[in-house]
């Protein structure tokens, strides 16, 4: 029964490593996009604000799979070629970056007015005020919902297998084709995602506890 799984475990684990890599890379990129878009939304000029608005609504209104299809089937016609892996990472980052932008925007807005007042009254302004007073508090607030978005992102990476990228879901599909044992194999694939997301969840919980300012 479990022999199939054991025999193919190295391949599955190799896929898991690729999934981890895809997730980490696109989460990091998504976080950068999220912070940038959030800041542009809040403090940008009208033009960048409008542009980021369009971006947010497109990303929220179009399924990730459709974006991936668009990338893989349409981009070659434009002559842009970033390679399949990088393309997948960019699409996932763009998609979840929109959600992270909302997380960071909400976090910055939830830093109480009085904190800004106090910082300004002490002579802080601009970047110093953001860096010393607003960002540290916003990051604490953003922590748990950020981790949550990362969990969605990890699961989202499974979609790239549909457009031909090799990672753990794709590895599973290949093993099933060979072994005809879908239950065991996809059970193993599911376990990989579950373990990653479970660890993230626990980390999120731990962060949540640390968010309170009682030390």
């Amino acid at each position: 029964m479990l022999n199939v799984l054991l025999a193919n475990l190295p391949l599955l684990l190799k896929g898991a490593v690729v999934t981890l890599y895809l997730s980490a890379a696109s989460a990091a990129l998504a976080a950068v996009i999220g912070v940038a878009v959030a800041l542009l939304q809040l403090y940008g000029d009208p033009v960048t604000r409008a542009a980021t608005h369009v971006y947010l609504y497109v990303m929220r209104g179009v399924p990730l799979l459709v974006l991936l299809f668009a990338m893989y089937y349409m981009l070659p016609y434009t002559g842009i070629d970033v390679g399949a892996t990088a393309g997948g990472i960019i699409v996932i980052a763009l998609y979840f970056g929109a959600f992270m932008a909302e997380v960071f925007r909400a976090a910055i807005l939830s830093v109480p007015r009085g904190q800004w007042d106090a910082a300004r009254a002490l002579g802080m302004y601009g970047r110093l005020l953001m860096l010393i007073v607003v960002v540290p508090q916003a990051l604490r607030i953003a922590g748990p919902p950020f981790v949550n978005t990362c969990i969605m992102l990890v699961k989202g990476t499974s979609l790239v297998s549909i457009v031909g990228l090799w990672e753990v879901t794709m590895a599973g599909r290949q093993i099933v084709e060979r072994t005809l044992a879908p239950f065991q194999v996809f059970g193993g694939v599911a376990a990989v995602y579950f373990v990653i997301c479970y660890c993230l969840s626990r980390y999120g919980r731990w962060l949540e506890k640390r968010v309170s300012y009682v030390h």
Binding site: A118, L122, M124
Partner: protein, 255 residues
């Protein structure tokens, strides 16, 4: 030290300050009293430009706050210049507004180090001294959430003092405190007054205003109605509005 000249401010169509003028001399304590919504907080926040104002002029130690030029040529000064002015004007808020992610010591040190570029060791020594002065020498490494309201407010006072401000603005700093904690905060302010600190104090504690202030300013409906030495003002209010306010206040007090 502070000169307010003909300041008017609108929130949209609603005028909240009407041609307000007043002076705070160096070393003087001025108490601002008046009913809720009379514009006391707004006036204080104009002095360090936490609020914009549309007309008039405010000077701190001779320097114009926030704006240059008059009439059509009036323009807001750059943020850098405004920030410099603010760094010379301390403010203590009703809700403390300590930085929750910093220890007590860090709260007091951070502005001198980052804004004034004071050497870290010097800032630390001065912060410790100030915290001793407000009776919190044993709380240096505590986070604000661990402190009582009265302790938090005393840290906030030390934080304002750390910038060596020319004047301190205090906005109902005991209103959010449990009654038994009011005394410890007022004691600190009393001591500051004796040390010759220039202060503008918005307060509902009439007894305190009478005792600590050299001048009391009564505001109502956004306008400065009456001002004078506390004894005269409380004993012999000239305007009907102040009479009504004091009467209502005494009745409220006795209830």
């Amino acid at each position: 030290m502070v000169a307010v000249r003909g300041v008017s401010k609108w929130f949209g169509a609603h005028q909240v300050l009407k041609d307000v003028s007043l002076d705070v001399a160096a070393g003087e304590v001025v108490a601002v009293i008046g009913p809720s919504g009379s514009g006391k907080t707004t006036l204080l926040r104009c002095v360090n430009l936490l609020e914009d104002f549309q007309q008039g002029e405010i000077r701190v130690d001779g320097e114009a706050v926030g704006y240059a030029g008059a009439g059509a040529a009036r323009r807001r000064l750059p943020e850098r210049v405004i920030a410099r002015t603010r760094s010379q004007v301390g403010m203590v808020f009703q809700s403390f507004n300590l930085f929750p992610h910093m220890t007590v010591l860090k709260n007091v040190m951070v502005a001198p180090v980052r804004v004034k570029k004071m050497p870290e060791a010097e800032a630390r020594a001065s912060a410790v001294r100030l915290l001793e002065r407000v009776g919190l020498a044993d709380k240096l490494d505590a986070y604000p959430a661990r402190l009582s309201g009265g302790q938090q407010q005393r840290v906030a006072i030390a934080r304002a003092l750390a910038m060596q401000p020319k004047v301190i603005l205090l906005d109902e700093i005991t209103s959010a405190l449990d009654p038994e904690l009011v005394g410890e905060v007022l004691a600190v302010i009393r001591q500051l007054a004796r040390d010759g600190m220039t202060m503008m104090i918005v307060t509902h504690e009439m007894q305190f205003a009478r005792e600590v202030a050299q001048k009391v300013v009564f505001m109502d409906g956004g306008a400065m109605i009456e001002q004078g030495p506390p004894r005269a003002l409380f004993a012999d209010p000239r305007t009907e509005r102040l009479q009504t306010f004091l009467k209502r206040f005494r009745e409220g007090y006795q209830l």
